[in-house]
């Protein structure tokens, strides 16, 4: 880092920032004082959703009836914003592909840099060796780290280098993870969770991150790799698009229900709500997992020697 972050953190235009933020804050305060408060009657649109959830959709969750029913088109758009963001994260975090032919600038640059640094800038051979050793540690040295910390005795000095956590954490998470998974899936499948697939997907990500924390990336790598997650995510997005179009074809409007409604509080209540919700669970769960692991496993793609 070129700037020392701890000594004195640099700021930009403190006073101008304070004036602008204060002015916008003051405008927001004036607006907030005019907003409806806790004794205001419910807006007509909210009352419509409360009264319509049972007769229209046979669901006891008005929030679900709004998310996947009355405002389904909005959720459809939101799904694809999420998909675009996940694709963006994938694009930014993925490793550079090795190029060949005319596109070998990176290799040419590395070779040139090594020559320039030894020759003109007076980097000595020992410094070069140190830098290369450091690069080796950052890159390949990772695989020699122990997977489980159990072999090291408690209280060993130095940083802990194992990927996984101790047997206590692993055992705890092994107990909790299946319960969390079943609870999350149950709430989504029976339509009891407000928001359905969105909180369900967040629970799925939580379980996967707990597993990552407890057993380490190396054991989880095969399950969370993009080749597995991306088809599931796109299948969820495709199912949502198909549901929206099917509503238009069979029931005359986008996201309208075209399935028979089961009795309330069963897995078949809600018609397309449940299908939409489960598709959203697939899309959100895998999308957030892809985003999280894209960020967690980002490679170092700078050259070992600072070009400055």
């Amino acid at each position: 880092m070129t700037t020392s972050l701890h000594a004195c953190e640099p700021h930009h235009h403190r006073w101008a920032g304070a004036v602008i933020a204060g002015a916008i804050g003051a405008i927001l305060v004036v607006v907030a004082l005019g907003l409806p408060r806790e004794h205001a009657p419910l807006p007509a649109i909210a009352r419509r959703a409360m009264l319509g959830a049972l007769p229209d959709w046979h669901t006891t969750e008005p929030v679900n009836a709004i998310v996947y029913g009355y405002r389904g088109f909005d959720t459809f758009g939101e799904t694809f914003i999420l998909l675009a963001a996940v694709v963006g994260i994938g694009l930014l975090t993925r490793r550079k592909e090795s190029r060949s032919g005319f596109l070998g600038e990176d290799l040419a640059h590395d070779a040139e840099q090594r020559r320039v640094h030894v020759g003109e800038h007076g980097v000595t051979l020992s410094e070069r060796e140190a830098l290369e050793a450091e690069a080796h540690e950052v890159g390949e040295g990772r695989d020699v780290w122990p997977l489980l910390p159990d072999a090291e005795s408690v209280g060993t000095p130095g940083p802990e280098r194992a990927e996984a956590m101790t047997v206590i954490v692993r055992a705890g998470i092994r107990v909790v993870a299946p319960i969390l998974t079943v609870a999350g899936l149950y709430l989504v499948a029976w339509g009891y969770s407000p928001g359905g697939g969105f909180p369900g997907g967040a629970v799925a990500l939580g379980v996967i991150l707990l597993m990552y924390l407890s057993v380490g990336y190396r054991r989880l790598r095969r399950a969370v790799r993009p080749e597995v997650m991306e088809p599931i995510e796109l299948a969820g997005a495709l199912a949502i698009a198909a549901l929206v179009v099917a509503g238009l074809l069979f029931a005359g409007s986008v996201t309208a229900n075209f399935l028979p409604l089961g009795p309330p509080e069963t897995i078949r209540s809600g018609g397309i709500l449940q299908l939409f919700s489960v598709s959203e669970l697939l899309e959100v769960g895998t999308g957030l997992t892809l985003a999280a692991f894209g960020l967690l496993t980002m490679g170092h793609e700078w050259s070992a020697v600072d070009p400055e």
Binding site: M1, T2, T3, L5, E9, P10, H11, H12, H13, G17, A18, I20, A21, I24, G25, L28, V29, A32, L33, L35, P36, R37, E38, A40, L42, P43, A46, R47, A49, M50, L51, A53, L54, T60, E61, P62, V63, I66, V67, D74, T75, E78, L82, A85, V86, G88, I89, L92, T93, Y192, P194, E265, A291, A292, L295, M298, H300, E301, W302, D306
Partner: protein, 122 residues
């Protein structure tokens, strides 16, 4: 008094904006943007609140009310809860994109100072 929540939301928004405007550390700028998002969630959920209200769930309404009574009585606004849900998902996705860009910027410029990132300057 729910108006207190509104004022706190406005304050958090202004605080986030101040962070974005004055900090030079790009990680902290992203944190400021997240703070501005969070103020939106607080405002939406506070606006959904009604005095002595229950959750917008039709399963076993409290005090033996029917669902019709529930809809006309005090229940939290389900529409605003839906909009907050949407906002949270979009917020998470956007923060992820920001953080990915920040990591790439830091790797390229080897600095988290926004003033060092000026390769587009003529």
């Amino acid at each position: 008094m729910i108006v207190g929540n509104y004022l706190v939301a406005a304050g958090i928004f202004a605080l986030g904006l101040y962070t974005v405007l004055t900090r030079r550390n790009i990680v902290k700028i992203v944190m400021g943007l997240s703070l501005m998002e969070a103020s939106g969630y607080l405002l939406l959920l506070s606006m959904a609140y009604r005095a002595r209200s229950t959750a917008p769930v039709l399963l076993d309404p409290p005090h033996g009310e029917t669902t019709t009574q529930l809809a006309h009585g005090s229940v939290a606004d389900p529409m605003l809860q839906n909009i907050c849900l949407t906002a949270i998902v979009i917020g998470v996705a956007i923060t992820g994109v920001f953080l990915a860009i920040v990591v790439r910027l830091v790797q390229h410029y080897r600095s988290v100072d926004a003033d060092d990132i000026r390769a587009l300057r003529g």
